[in-house]
Symmetry: C2
Subunit: 312 residues, 2 copies
């Protein structure tokens, strides 16, 4: 892997806690980031889809990042989402993140206008990279067509790698389409481009195809299980370990994902305020919450113990 | 119509000019707003979809509004788009606009997350209105599912009107679905709720159904024609006048709408720089530009003369 590839393993798009008044809760956020690193997370993809990042203003996201760094969370472990619909705002967010020395950034395509061409999306990303103009920038493309409707297709990804080989160093594939992940791995893994499936359901298949890990929402509640697959993927137990984490994932995603994850955190961390979401998301109903927790108990789920000291 | 309904007639979602370096061009923007008001536009829905508003940061939009006001464009004629994916940013944009005394604001639903419930969208809009907490706020809902995928459905609109009768005073329907516009008019026009189809193709039908005008992209290049329909809709010439403006619209929308409109402005205002767009949009190719202008010539289109003095 080239030195330009700073991340591998299990990355977590960290949930963002909100106070009862609906404000980002920096204290709980810092504690939770420490907990995840302590559990063995290889990186924190803060401000992703699971983080309700797009339910926060750019100013709110930058203030939270400032506080994480001030609290001693290592910048090199962070891959903040810096997507925005405008070149100007995306540039501001990336400059701020790179200024803090983050390991990389996760970059959405512009997602308001639909039916844009690959050329238009290319020009957008190129304009952002050119405006940031920093050799320290490591960008991971964020392919999530269920939300954006704007794809980073295989050919477009290749064009961006070719134009910015030291900057465009990886991709998170949240298409849920294994054929797409496999095609990306075949095309670009051999040259050291870091491909992360957006769900641990594809972790083992991804590693076998040349991927470097996963960036997964359920990492918020299952780092230890997912790490086991990553650490043992070449062993005979790999398929069984994968089946275990797939079962947990499938149980959770019967429910609206972000509210369900927050409800699990609230329960297992004994902190009911964690269940709060920002509109347009809605928290689970009491009936949904009880059903979710019963479903998890039925498959023997537990949060797992912190296995490492919290990162300095 | 209740006094809470400040707009009617022909409103233009004003194109935003960019400099060759890609920055919002305040000088050209101010001149163009004056031109449109001079042509008889009843209001300027700046920062809409046609304005590439979501290709600008909130800070860029607020700076442009500051400059329009400073240049003497009457605030009461302005209906800026204040949509954003977060309650926090939407609140900031609206407070800024209301602080300038704008006639109203045009409000997108939160548009990043797909598959949100009506309750989630309701809670988002309610939270924004509650946070702005101004009796001066007049909000127009912006229903444009082709871009947002998140609808303001007939029932949801009714709930918002009921909860905020003095604030939620109208809607722009850019669904392109006449049945939806008609259903909204039947349900809410009688109580003074102001419904604007998002295309002049539906202007006459809308007025006959109880609508109050239209907010239409092609207003950027055809205020005089569209005003004729609005002024004469009860006369025997109405259908012929409608056919005339529909023909212009249909000719333009054979091409990508925003780049086509900018190309028309560039041509008829003798100002080539006007053709610039911000990525992810792309400007028309030379071949497309020539075909568009030839198509317009073939139907006898002209920009029309300014018929009023520019508004002070």
């Amino acid at each position: 892997m080239p030195s330009s590839q700073p991340f591998s393993g299990v990355l977590v798009p960290v949930l963002t806690p909100f106070t009862p008044a609906g404000e980002p809760d920096a204290g709980r956020f810092i504690s939770f980031c420490r907990f995840l690193l302590g559990q063995g997370a290889d990186g924190l993809a803060i401000f992703g889809t699971t983080s309700e990042a797009n339910s926060m203003s750019g100013a709110e996201r930058m203030a939270l990042l400032d506080k994480l760094i001030a609290a001693g969370i290592p910048a090199g472990k962070l891959m903040p989402g810096t997507g925005a619909c405008s070149i100007s705002e995306a540039t501001t967010l990336i400059k701020h993140a790179v200024g803090h020395g983050v390991g990389g950034v996760l970059m959405l395509p512009p997602f308001y206008y639909k039916g844009m061409t690959d050329q238009g999306v290319y020009d957008f990303i190129a304009a952002v990279i050119d405006r940031v103009a920093s050799s320290a920038l490591r960008m991971y493309l964020y392919h999530i067509p269920p939300q954006t409707m704007i794809p980073f297709g295989v050919e477009l990804v290749g064009r961006l790698i070719k134009a910015y080989p030291k900057t465009v160093v990886g991709l998170k594939d949240s298409s849920g389409d294994w054929a797409n992940t496999e095609a990306l791995c075949k095309a670009y893994s051999p040259e050291g481009f870091g491909i992360f499936p957006g769900s641990e359901v594809f972790l083992l298949d991804g590693l076998r195809a040349g991927g470097v890990g996963c960036i997964t929402a359920s990492g918020n509640v299952n780092v230890p299980g997912i790490r086991k697959v990553y650490e043992n993927w070449k062993t005979p137990q790999a398929d069984q370990l994968q089946a275990d984490i797939t079962r947990v994932r499938m149980t959770i995603q019967k429910y609206p994902m972000v509210p369900a994850l927050k409800r699990i955190v609230a329960h297992f961390h004994n902190d009911p305020d964690w269940a709060a979401v920002r509109p347009p998301m809605e928290r689970l109903s009491d009936a949904q919450s009880q059903a979710l927790l019963a479903d998890l108990a039925a498959i023997g789920y537990s949060l797992g113990d912190a296995r490492r000291e919290a990162a300095e």
